[in-house]
């Protein structure tokens, strides 16, 4: 296709002071060992602390996106299975979990956090094998943050009255939680930790392509000796997720994923008593002013859009550069792209791993082609891609205008669209010109300008002179069509409690 033809042969390398002509040395392969990891051939549904096949027995295959090799078969839940899971969770809420004191719930959650830390490398390896993300990210970001989430919310379990004074906080019951494939374990932690701390029981449906760390987490539940039915995990296609959302005994729905699916779920929840939080798509603006520390900004831009192959809802996919620094910044950026190592996710030196699925790769390719067709200028560094697996080169578009699809639509891939601006007002206008509002970035050395921009961004998270930072104490979530409700911090806890004791009735 046209993509490879238009690729430039070598990036400029002057900026990091090495000799001209590219990287003078190569890294030796540094593969992470996988022999300590045990992936079962087949996983049943995890309901009531036991694995059992779906009824009728039906499975689907899960593959490694970096090799396209099958990893395991997992159960394809039926409507009857959904009902069984909800009934089990409801009974567990009634008979055990809601009767436990907060202090006891907290200790279970601390146990989970500790076991995740103990088994961290195993989780990182399985996460990378199943999702395609680089091992250095799963090892240093996904797994430690997941454990930290459980540790943080563990401490809230016996302090709810202090979190919501005068609101008589009470658990809701059964929470249905549907998560995406980009951060399988981390999203599990974002969902399950606050839900359990608040005294709810959960049914988690991981994405169809990335269920393995969730089923591995089931083993953590077993080791932690959680009462049966408190955590249930089922797999299946989107329709099964909708069955779960619609089940009358579900009291809370939490969804992270695309805006289109989020709207379907919100419609299904309309007219019920179910509480709902949605964490949906994004098209974040990353704004660089001419006084920004450019080398620092380059690292932030790269982290913003190439972290996790750009498969991040809050990715900084629109770069707004003040005109006066456009030229030097783009030169530096192209040079930096040339140093990104794309390939085997299990290699400890890999920066950009595999796209999660063939379908997602096709979507990225289609949108990149639209960028070319609409007249933007493409740049991709020269780098060899593995012969098998779903890989895509880090991509940069310059000469992008607001109306281009690549400036409007969420690509969810390693593709950056660069636009320019002259004044702060123009940057604000352009940055906010999107139905999304999840995150934004601002790069400038001027403190007062940071606060002006921060206040003007219609976005739930604003990173100033940094990007893509996450923490359990830090609320995360969107404005506008990026969703509602927050995850993380005390705000994320409210989403799992009935706090209508004061007469308010927020969903």
């Amino acid at each position: 296709m046209t993509l490879t033809k238009k690729r430039e042969t070598r990036p400029a390398t002057a900026s990091w002071g090495l000799s001209a002509g590219g990287i003078p040395w190569e890294y030796a392969p540094a593969p992470e060992a996988t022999d300590h990891v045990n992936i079962e051939r087949e996983y049943g549904l995890f309901i009531g602390n036991t694995f059992a096949p779906s009824r009728p027995r039906k499975t689907f295959s899960v593959i490694n996106p970096a090799t396209e090799e099958p990893l395991a078969k997992v159960a394809h839940a039926s409507k009857a299975d959904v009902h069984r899971a909800v009934t089990t969770a409801r009974e567990a809420h009634r008979s055990s979990w809601s009767k436990l004191s907060g202090r006891e719930r907290a200790k279970y959650l601390y146990r989970i956090a500790r076991i995740l830390q103990e088994r961290s490398r195993e989780f990182a390896v399985v996460e990378t094998m199943n999702s395609g993300k680089p091992i250095k990210e799963s090892r240093d970001v996904d797994v430690p943050l997941a454990a930290a989430h459980f540790f943080y919310y563990a401490g809230w379990a016996d302090k709810l009255e202090y979190a919501f004074p005068n609101r008589e906080p009470r658990s809701l019951g059964v929470a249905a939680q549907i998560i995406p494939w980009n951060f399988p374990l981390l999203m599990l932690a974002w969902k399950i930790a606050p839900a359990l701390a608040a005294g709810n029981t959960v049914i988690l449906k991981p994405a169809s392509t990335t269920p393995l760390t969730a089923y591995l987490f089931a083993d953590v539940v077993r080791q932690a000796d959680l009462p049966p039915g408190v955590v249930n995990i089922i797999t299946g296609p989107g329709e099964i997720g909708m069955e779960l959302v619609r089940h009358p005994d579900v009291r809370k729905v939490a969804f992270t994923g695309s805006t289109a699916v989020g709207k379907m779920i919100a419609r299904a929840v309309a007219g019920t008593d179910k509480k709902l939080t949605l964490e949906l798509g994004g098209k974040a603006a990353n704004i660089v002013f001419d006084d920004a520390p450019l080398d620092q900004a380059i690292e932030g831009i790269v982290n913003g859009i190439y972290f996790n192959q750009g498969e991040v809802c809050c990715a900084g996919s629109r770069l707004f550069v003040q005109e006066s620094v456009h030229e030097p910044l783009i030169a530096k950026l192209k040079a930096r792209l040339g140093t990104l190592r794309v390939g085997d996710p299990l290699d400890k030196n890999t920066d950009v791993g595999a796209i999660n699925s063939a379908g997602q790769l096709a979507k990225v390719q289609e949108l990149v082609q639209s960028g070319i067709d609409e007249g933007a200028e493409i740049f991709q560094p020269a780098c060899d891609l593995p012969e098998r697996g779903f890989f895509f080169r880090p991509t940069l578009f310059t000469g992008v205008s607001q109306s281009h699809r690549i400036a409007q639509e969420e690509i969810f891939g390693p593709v950056l669209s660069v636009l320019t601006f002259r004044t702060p007002e123009e940057a604000i206008e352009k940055a906010n010109n999107t139905p999304y509002g999840l995150s934004a970035g601002v790069w400038t050395e001027k403190g007062s300008r940071i606060f002006k921009m921060v206040a003007a961004m219609k976005a739930g998270v604003v990173w100033a002179n940094t990007f893509n930072r996450f923490d359990p104490t830090s609320p995360f979530g969107g404005y506008k069509e990026s969703g509602h409700g927050r995850e993380g911090g005390i705000h994320g806890l409210a989403a799992y409690l009935d706090v209508s004791g004061d007469g308010a009735n927020t969903r």
């Binding site: 930290a148 609101r167 805006t259 989020g262 709207k263 919100a266 419609r267 929840v269 309309a270 007219g271 008593d273 949605l278 949906l280 139905p435 940071i450 921060v454 206040a455 961004m457 976005a459 739930g460 998270v461 604003v462 990173w463 100033a464 002179n465 940094t466 930072r469 923490d471 104490t473 830090s474 609320p475 995360f476 979530g477 404005y479 506008k480 069509e481 990026s482 969703g483 509602h484 927050r486 911090g489 005390i490 705000h491 706090v499 209508s500 004061d502 007469g503 308010a504 009735n505 927020t506 969903r507």
Partner: protein, 328 residues
Amino acid sequence: MARPRSAARKPRASRATALDRRASGALTTTNGAAGRPDRIEVRKTYKLYIGGAFPRTESGRAYEIFDARGEFIANASRGTRKDIRDAVRAARGAQPGWAAKTAFNRSQILYRIAELLEGRRQQFVAEVMIAEGVGRARAERLVDASIDRWVWYAGWADKYPQMIGTVNPVAGSYFNFSVPEATGVVGVIAPEASSLLGLISRLAPVIVSGNAAVVIASETRPLPAVTLSEVLATSDVPGGVVNLITGLRRELVGHLAAHMDVNALDAFGASPDDSAALEEVSVENVKRFVRPPRAGLDRYDWLAERAQSPYQIGDFVEIKTVWHPIGA
């Protein structure tokens, strides 16, 4: 969507009878003074309130408003989808400036509303008596509570961010904090029965944080709401921050819920059937949505302490989290 109880369906008493009774002094006039038999009352034209002005509805239509006994009181504007669109436009235009005012300033402006309400206390008592069919003592309680509620919310403007906002102790060298911000333009479906206190209880928490509101007034009891808009117009609330549409609910609420430039919908005052349908259409642009109380509005006690809450301000704000590295 279930058809709300419409004024047009109510059994109406003979118009001559109602006017005769009023002229004879048997009824108080709407300004709260006793009617005199030898003087014909100058009646008010009840109009919409959009962008700080009082336009008639673009439809040129009206519908009749009756008191609790079914006697004609006045014609109210029968607002339309176009009126709602005009109101949303006015709200969108006014919202950034309102949110940009200091919290102290918004606090003073909300307090000013209470001051002016107090000055018109007798008029509101009379209107609530007529609209809700309650006795004077009850109406006075409702009006006093309405005034006090403005004062209560006025005090929250520069305090609620300290309750809802946080500084977050992240595990890294970053300064990280979360602040609430007004969500933007909020549609408010005023309660049908509680013509003044219900309306104010829902409206005040929406605007205190810097939102602009488009209110659909009670269909059968809209007159106190229209008079409230006259208070708002003279109380330093910038034009467009509150917009008020009267009319038949079935012709209005769906359009407000579906409007793509409305960020949130307060359906607390809607019927459960209406609310379900409204929630579904509001999904199109992922509106924030507040449902009616679980136990229903019929038994909801607007006078109760729990009918006011800073968390109701929190229902119409966004939490924005900001990160910055710490370093030399």
